[in-house]
């Protein structure tokens, strides 16, 4: 496009976008820092081909456009974890203009180990000395000037959680660019032996493999070749016994053995340790930190598990208390005004009757009844995110792992189950959900004991995991991560739940003109298999049809029930229908009262009175109709069945990833279905035996 007017007195200079990569250790506050810098301009996605999260943001500082790219948190740039490979491939091949290295000021030595590796790349580096406030609180004195001198880079103290130092950091970034090549970090010396070898290798590469010089930073390439980094050796097509390699590193191998990777690690670590001694003064007396005090209780051998279950109970209870009023509100709005509006507008456009039915009884009833769970999902994800961000979730994994081991199991396979609850239908009340959750874990343990002797023999894997210190997660990062988790639910609702709703509508209305839903295709299939579920208390065609549709995703169970029961629930409004504006006002006022109700619910959860407070009778349309077809006991058995009967599509993908073949998924499918049936049977028949809710 050409410029619209020629009146401009000066040409608009297209400034190049400055590409800033943000690197750092896990738990260095890198994520919070990028959130603080980016604000609402943050874009969260995935690195291509992998499940590792990628955050990007475009911002502007003093007219300079900046593209922030968040690299995965790593301890090193060795090629062993997915994260490390992503980070280094980006740094080496995509060559950002500048690296912001987020360093945890409370754990300098280990963080500087990564910093030193970043300095090898020949890219300007700026160190964000993060969590500076906690370091000060610990009584640490860090000589920032000495650190800058030693590393030859700008060091900016920051507290990302309070947005302190963010402007200084951006100033340093733009300032470094203005300085051009003078901002390149000083080359660190790893000792005479190594440096001599590096020199020789570099000269040899320039001489014999000039093409490589274009592709890699020289010093970095020489160091990697010396370490015998397989990835680089393969990419560069140089063998470890190449004559150049022999000449350059032969004497190092003689002196230090073949494992030059360890030699390099040692060299970097002693440099990092030396630097730390130089710039950091620790207080002589260390006081017990809050994290230690909390851990003593939370990780206690006897209290650990009860605390974990209590925490989860609290999560489910709060989730329910907070979201139920909004779920009711949404339910009312969808079934009332929204249905009326869609009906009216379809009629207005002279749509045929079947279209009106498809829209209201198919799409709205199906997707709508799933959408009602949006507040539940988001509230749940909020609390889970809070537990994750606070540092508790990693502890929960640790405590469960320990408990599993003491029963002779390895906890590997259970961790995803403990954390991943998004797969399952949110049930009606927090306590019911919690009891199902606990039951799921208990069953996993029982099955693990059973399978230990049959399927999953073999040694337990070695694992290692850093437990971050307890921290109050910032509101911003809570919001971002809650949204990221909840988003998937919305996408699901908009895509295949919508598609299945339409499909179910057809199956419920074919053969064309069928009078009774029981005689439709879906109804017939449902009726045929219903006897299988009779001993479980829900041997009706409605339940079994929903379960068939739910094979695709568990949310669809709810959606299908919404469609099946819609005819009975529908009542013709008496008198004239409310106008559009009356509807809007009604939606607004009921939203406000939902907010008030949620607030009082939460207050009463915290208060003692809540322990006795029973959830009040629900009036939501679907729930009240379902209550007619189910007794409380059979409903619980049904929910237990839904929870267990089938790994959802997401779980199937995870299964494939973990075990590599679909065979195990088939095994899991059969096993889970049998398990679900047995558990529902025990719940229902056992419950009847004891005369509960029969």
């Amino acid at each position: 496009m050409t410029a619209p007017t020629a009146a401009r007195s000066f040409p608009v200079v297209e400034t190049a976008v400055l590409r800033v990569a943000v690197a750092g250790n896990p738990n260095s506050g890198k994520s919070t820092l990028i959130n603080s810098l980016a604000g609402t301009r943050l874009h969260v996605g995935n690195w291509p081909g992998v499940t590792v999260e990628k955050k990007e943001a475009a911002l502007e500082h003093r007219g300079q456009r900046i593209a922030l790219i968040d690299l995965p948190g790593t301890y090193s740039l060795s090629p062993y974890t997915e994260e490390e490979i992503i980070a280094r491939d980006f740094l080496v091949h995509d060559r950002p203009d500048i690296i912001v290295d987020v360093v945890d000021a409370t754990n300098l030595e280990r963080n500087l180990y990564l910093t030193l590796q970043l300095l090898e790349l020949g890219i300007p580096v700026i160190v964000a000395l993060n969590i500076y406030d906690e370091a000060e609180k610990k009584g640490y004195k860090i000589d920032v000037k000495a650190m800058e001198a030693a590393l030859g880079v700008t060091v900016v103290p920051t507290v990302a959680t309070r947005k302190t130092g963010m402007n200084d950091l951006l100033e340093a970034v733009t300032g470094a660019i203005a300085k051009g090549s003078r901002s390149l970090p000083r080359s660190q010396s790893y000792g005479e032996d190594i440096e001599a070898a590096v020199k020789m290798l570099t000269a040899g590469i320039v001489d014999r493999h000039p093409a490589l010089v274009e592709r890699y930073p020289r010093r970095w390439l020489a160091l990697k070749l010396m370490e015998g980094d397989r990835r680089v050796l393969a990419e560069a097509n140089i063998s470890g016994v190449d004559s150049l390699m022999k000449d350059a590193v032969g004497h190092l191998r003689e002196a230090h053995g073949e494992d030059l990777e360890s030699l390099m690690a040692d060299a970097r670590y002693s440099l990092a340790a030396g630097l730390t001694r130089e710039v950091l003064q620790r207080p002589s007396v260390r006081k017990t930190e809050m994290t230690e005090k909390i851990d003593r209780v939370v990780l206690n051998r006897f209290l650990g598990i009860p605390i974990f279950f209590a925490a989860m109970w609290f999560v489910f209870k709060m989730t329910f208390d907070l979201s139920a009023p909004f779920a009711d509100w949404l339910d009312g709005a969808i079934n009332g005004p929204l249905t009326r509006w869609i009906e009216a507008s379809t009629n207005l456009l002279h749509g045929p009757d079947w279209l009106v039915s498809l829209m209201t009884k198919g799409v709205i009833a199906g997707v709508g009844s799933v959408l009602v769970f949006v507040p539940v999902i988001f509230a749940m994800m909020f609390f889970i995110t809070f537990l994750e961000g606070s540092g508790y979730m990693a502890r929960a994994a640790f405590v469960m792992d320990r408990a599993m081991h003491s029963m002779g199991l390895h906890g590997k396979s259970f961790i995803p189950m403990i954390l991943g609850f998004g797969c399952n239908v949110p049930a009606q009340s927090g306590t019911v959900l919690w009891s199902l959750y606990v039951m799921g874990i208990v069953l996993a343990v029982l099955m693990g004991i059973l399978f230990k002797r049959t399927l999953f023999r073999g040694e337990s894997p070695m694992f290692i995991m850093e437990l971050p210190p307890y921290r109050m997660p910032s509101g911003r990062s809570l919001a971002i991560h809650t949204w990221e988790k909840g988003k998937h639910f919305l996408i699901k609702a908009g895509t295949y739940i919508l598609a299945v709703s339409v499909l179910v509508w057809f199956l419920l209305n074919l053969p064309w003109g069928v009078e009774n839903k029981k005689d439709s295709y879906l109804g017939k299939v449902g009726s045929a298999i219903a006897p299988v579920f009779a001993p479980l208390g829900f041997g009706n065609w409605e339940a079994s049809s929903s379960l068939i549709a739910g094979v695709i995703a568990k949310e669809i169970v709810v959606g299908t029930m919404g469609e099946i029961y819609v005819r009975e629930t529908e009542k013709k409004p008496e008198g004239p229908a409310p106008t559009f504006f009356e509807d809007l006002r009604e939606i607004g006022t009921s939203f406000a009262s939902a907010g008030r109700e949620a607030f009082t619910n939460v207050i009463s959860t915290v208060g003692i009175t809540s322990l006795k407070a029973e959830e009040k009778e629900e009036e939501a349309t679907l729930r009240s109709v379902v209550a007619k077809s189910f007794t409380p006991l059979s409903a619980y058995a049904f929910m237990a069945f839904v929870l267990l009967y089938m790994p959802c599509v997401v779980a199937a993908a995870a299964f494939k990833h973990e075990f590599g073949t679909w065979k195990w998924f088939g095994v899991a499918f059969v096993y889970q279905t049998i398990l679900a049936w047995s558990v529902a049977f025990i719940v229902y028949q056992g419950g009847k035996l004891f005369g509960i809710g029969g």
């Binding site: 301890y75 974890t81 280990r110 690690a265 640790f398 320990r402 408990a403 954390l419 070695m462 995991m465």
Partner: protein
Amino acid sequence: MFPLGLLGSGEKGEVVDKVPGGSHALRPCHRDSAGTGCRKGSTVRIEDMGIRPGKTIEMLSNEGGGALLVKIDEARIAMGRTMAMKIMVRRKDG
């Protein structure tokens, strides 16, 4: 000199040496801070996490079975017992 896994809660030791076979022998699978996953090909060198010869390591929690928790510098690191039995330490007083 004995395996880290035998250090009791509250005791301190000095990491003596890596397991025979060099750095390649200790490649545990690394879990992220949320505790999820132990994905395929996700291994980390324990040296990169700061567990190195000469370092003082404090046992925070060792219940005799299952995972244990150690502290190195300012990092709290949970690891499986199999792992801990392969890291050699020398007991340190105080």
